[in-house]
Symmetry: C2
């Protein structure tokens, strides 16, 4: 067989869907040595997931491409509820905003998964040399358990097989939520111009066809979907079950006199089932259509006979539900059918070395538009943690918070989906005496309540070494113990200090002005996802002597030997390699200049001069109004310190005087940095040179 | 010599700077057969122009890439005026907003010309097969005057020479405003990742090196800069003169304790001259520095001895002016020096066949940040006119309005620049008795007044066939006669109808909601630059019977045989090929649906169904406030018709009843469309097949 190439990599990602690409993006932004493989020969171009929550848009924006999604997407502004009237004819009974006003600077939009993947691919290519290796499948996985706690080790060994073009090019099909897939029609009318290159590149995969290679990885992420190969290899399971509701999905350019076809609609017919209307980009509309049970020729296992389901049959169901309005189409972009089921992984990792993310650990119904969002947010939560451990900034213990934080979210999602699916699939009650029917008032209430959950903004991570708050980490998470190992480093936030900031939630965003040039920025815009922790000092009005004195004392503490900045920033690294120290004051902007503030907020560089981008002020802008962030976040007159994780979730809130608490917090999970030891460096270099051997 | 290839093209563009690229973008968007050549081997990567006015950003946005400029640019929010205090030490005397609040949804920003060119190149490539042909120079130009009034003819014959790599790669140098250039330092630290491909492609130009070809063109645009070859060929001249003020320009990353270095500053020192500070992207700052006259070793011709000017000498001037503040640098990106001069072309075209645009017809000082803007706006004005004539939609007569509209703007610009330069180059007055000094109050007043002019928003085109307003077209333009040829087609707007709309100016933009999906759009966003005229009907509250009746009557007139829609839309073309008919009503959004309005506002297509994107409502949005466009534009209760040119300038305002005036207006310059004549088509095809001949 000759020589099988063998190599080391810090992070191996299996699967280049949204969850895998999010992970690769973190690796690219943080400069981590990573590879990402996918068994398919190309990215997807239509169908699949399409909903983007507010929080997902905030995240994409922090990665530098939220605006691309925002521009291309269809914006859904309003939900129209249609129900049977007293004669059983559907009519619009209510309108509610699709996104609760004020919760985010973005609103829920719709754009198909293939475009999101395009944005990730472009962003990865811009920031790094990482490229998705397509037509590549893992064929074996071994973990050396004796090495899992050794920071420098590569305990994971994976054999990769390069597929032939035939193997890597399945007809693109729907992967329904619970893993039952049906071939689709595949009309590529929607193919975007910047995707064309990908189709051309697909032919390149043949060069290595049928060859194998061996990879030794420090960390591995299985983002390989509902049928996860990685999950099976490490012996983890999904728990839950499926119902017997069957739904069809049509992506069409509708020809209809239904007046709300460009709104998101929840339509309950009297006797013919329900439709969810999701207006999409490029004139498309997605219809989720409940298939009449009489058409459900079930087999013995309780599963539907899917050979009987086709677009015409789904359309006819839609026509019955929408009557007396007419609907048909000439353009069909994609279609599928699925049975609703809800399952969640028993565990999200083994040894905090191999992790699962996305559909590999949770499946549910697609109608609430959660799947792609929760999947991307899984690896958004995990990526910066792995990067900081690989770089030697943080201790391995923070990796346990992935399961604690994300498995809890998956459990909440499954509960939400269960309730929502039942209400949506049920027959509307004819009147208050109709106990078997679903009350439309109850449905509307559930919808409105679900909107907060569905926005992604409500996520509130439990207490842990990296979320300094009261309470039990087991109870607030999924049961995993993620408390601080050394009791003296346990820090508790003063949660009452700022009414608008909740420790464990993402910090809300409002506009602030740059002191140096008066430019308005949304707070989130100055917190891009690059792996840095932010220590934000809200210093109040620094023209007040008391506040100014506190600020200078705080700056002395931050700049002192053995402060967190000193201990945990690698020697010789840029001043903001690990921590960015930001100031938001509310003295009148015109009364001060950047030179009135301590140098820790405007670090000096021999070549670039002073850094003018770290001091902000809560004041009126010329063209974009007044952010009023002090009032919006409830910042007290005497200021506070807010510590924000690299993923924008709040880690800690405390008063300006408590600089010792800041040091303690980071001592709980960061690693002290020493002057590099030449002998050790040489040893590492030697072991990494060991690149291939014969078999 | 063998065969010289010969071919026909509709439009030949010489010069791929901002003016030439703007023209090529129009051609790409309108589907016109065009070529664009440039003698340089690559686009530029640093230095040159950098200011973008509000109006320019609106225009770039209408072309689909304003957001790219907006994101990458440095935003200038405030102008700080620094003047000598009673002891002759500079201090900040005033702050004014850089852009007048409320005049546009964009504000003035700074981004170097090379990036703007990148956005144009990407946009052209996305919309068409047009590519800039680099290393190509015209060597002869002939016009067959007997053919200039023949719509179908190609009266222009140009020989192009393909240069060698050496010829096409001059050291990149500054082109100062009045054409005197000095070699620069060229530090490419600013090279953006997406520009790299261009440098690689530059090597391709060698393949055709030293070959020639002959092109027959219908129209030609000389956008070939201050030394315009095209201008010389057609015998046109620039008129005006230059002063003896000399200015140096440094693009540096400053190391300074001057507190306003990230603001736009106008600094007058007591005795050492003036500085303009322009903060730019990537930590760069551009300094315009007045060079002390003692350093101006003039030669006999009155020109400065430029060999004595270098970055160190310019920096030292800056240090004297800025004292007691310190300034130095370690990174120099670009530098130049120039003498101020103001010149404008005697004519902007010959026979309305060969046109000049940009620096080829106006040069002036760069400090007001006007050059690149006015240049792009020249060809933005011209492009759609040529496209509509080439397509056979409009009569050739509209081409005369280019000179009438743009030469007048150039004249205004030169007058503005003359006044502004004098005030900025002069020594500040020591007191009210110091008659030779410049009053700083006068300077501030000029600055504030100049801001409206400099925004580009104040442009107000004079009466013509395409601007239906009172008065003499000669007096309102540059003297060219551009009145309507047939008197019965002269239409005069009712200018008093809408207080917020001025015929001849660009329509202001405010938010409206799409009726079909409640999405807020800025009005400008629904007026993209694609060559279409817009007939916007502000119908008022259509729940009012009177307004509804008027709307249905208007729709009947628009849909009638021999209406403008019928006469001037090519047979068989899409319903909005030439005119887009839009509706903005102000009935409550929730009280109506799109199906309550006439079909002319929601045209039906057999494949795509109804068009939902042409009906808008002035109502409150869920997340982006209330545009209140009726109040902002002063639309009366009983509505009005507003006709908007393809470049967003208002052509006509009239009452809803005056549908005959709409027909008359278009009769004045549009061409009636007939069923295509097969015989004529074959003749044209034959003449275009005549591709090459031996010499």
């Amino acid at each position: 067989m000759g020589v099988i190439p063998e190599s080391n990599v810090d992070v191996l990602i299996v699967g280049a869907g949204p969850a895998g690409l999010m992970m690769a993006t973190w690796m690219a932004k943080c400069g981590i040595n990573a590879r990402i493989v996918d068994k398919r020969g190309t990215k997807i171009f239509n169908g699949q997931a399409d909903g983007l929550q507010c929080r997902t848009l905030e995240i994409l924006d922090s990665l530098g491409f939220g605006h691309r999604a925002w521009r291309e997407a269809n914006h859904m502004l309003e939900i129209c509820l249609w129900n049977p009237d007293e004669n059983g004819i559907i009519k619009r009974s209510d309108r509610i905003p699709d996104t609760i006003p004020g919760i985010s600077r973005f609103q829920q939009v719709v754009l198909h998964q293939g475009r999101i993947e395009r944005f990730f691919l472009d962003s990865i290519a811009e920031a790094s040399d990482i490229r998705v290796e397509r037509g590549v499948m893992p064929s074996s996985l071994k973990i050396d358990e004796s090495l899992v706690e050794d920071d420098a080790a590569h305990p994971i060994t994976v054999t990769l097989r390069h597929l032939t073009e035939e193997e890597a090019t399945p007809k693109q099909s729907s992967t329904s939520a619970n893993g039952q897939s049906i071939q689709d029609g595949l009309f590529r009318s929607n193919l975007a111009k910047d995707d064309t290159q990908d189709l051309l590149d697909a032919s390149k995969i043949n060069a290595k066809a049928n060859s194998e290679e061996v990879i030794h990885a420090k960390y591995m992420i299985g983002a390989d979907g509902a049928h996860s190969w990685t999950r099976n290899q490490i012996g983890l399971k999904l728990e839950g079950d499926s119902t017997d509701y069957i739904w069809g999905v049509l992506d069409i350019v509708p020809i209809t006199d239904f007046p709300d076809i460009r709104m998101r609609c929840a339509i309950h017919s009297a006797d013919n089932g329900s439709i969810m209307v999701i207006p999409r980009e490029n004139r498309l509309v997605r219809l989720y259509i409940q298939l009449n049970t009489t058409q459900k020729a079930g087999d013995i296992s309780g599963r539907a006979d899917r050979s009987k389901i086709n677009p015409q049959m789904i359309l006819e169901s839609a026509q019955r539900i929408l009557a007396p309005y007419k609907i048909t189409y000439r353009k069909l972009d994609w279609w599928t059918a699925y049975q609703i089921g809800q399952r969640v992984g028993t565990s999200f990792s083994v040894h905090e070395r191999v992790f699962l993310a996305g559909d590999a650990v949770h499946t549910h119904s697609p109608k609430a538009g959660q799947g792609m969002n929760v999947s991307m947010q899984d690896s958004f939560n995990l990526g910066w943690k792995i990067a900081s451990v690989v770089k030697g900034h943080a201790q391995r213990s923070i990796l346990k918070t992935y399961q604690s934080e994300r498995r809890r979210i998956a459990q909440d999602l499954i509960a939400f989906d269960h309730k929502f699916s039942r209400l949506f699939s049920g027959r509307p009650a004819k009147d208050v005496m109709d106990a078997e029917g679903i009350s439309m008032e109850e449905f509307k209430a559930a919808f409105e309540k679900g909107n907060m959950f569905a926005s992604g903004i409500a996520v509130n991570y439990g207490a842990s070494a990296i979320v300094a708050k009261e309470g039990s980490s087991e109870e607030q998470g999924d049961g995993t113990d993620v408390s601080v190992a050394i009791a003296k480093h346990r820090v508790i936030s003063d949660q009452s200090l700022c009414g608008g900031i909740t420790v464990g939630m993402r910090i809300p965003s409002h506009k602030v002005l740059s002191q140096a040039d008066a430019r308005p920025w949304h707070l989130h815009e100055v917190l891009p996802s690059n792996g840095r922790w932010r220590v934000v000092v809200f210093a109040g009005n620094t023209n007040d002597n008391r506040q100014r004195d506190k600020l200078w004392k705080l700056s002395e503490a931050f700049s002192a030997p053995n402060s967190f900045l000193d201990l945990y920033t690698p020697k010789g690294a840029r001043y903001d390699e690990v921590f960015e120290v930001l100031l938001v004051h509310n003295a009148p902007r015109k009364s001060v200049t950047v030179f009135d503030f301590p140098e820790v907020f405007r670090p000096y560089d021999e070549v670039d001069g002073w850094d003018y981008n770290k001091i902000f002020v809560d004041d009126v802008s010329y063209h974009e109004g007044f952010g009023n962030i002090y009032e919006a976040l409830g910042i007290p007159q005497n200021g506070c310190i807010v510590i924000i994780r690299p993923d924008q979730y709040v880690s800690y809130v405390g008063s300006m005087e408590k600089t010792a608490a800041v040091n303690s917090l980071f001592a709980g999970f960061m690693k002290e940095q020493y002057v590099p030891d030449e002998a050790h460096r040489r040893m590492v270099a030697l072991s990494e040179n060991n690149q291939s051997f014969s078999v």
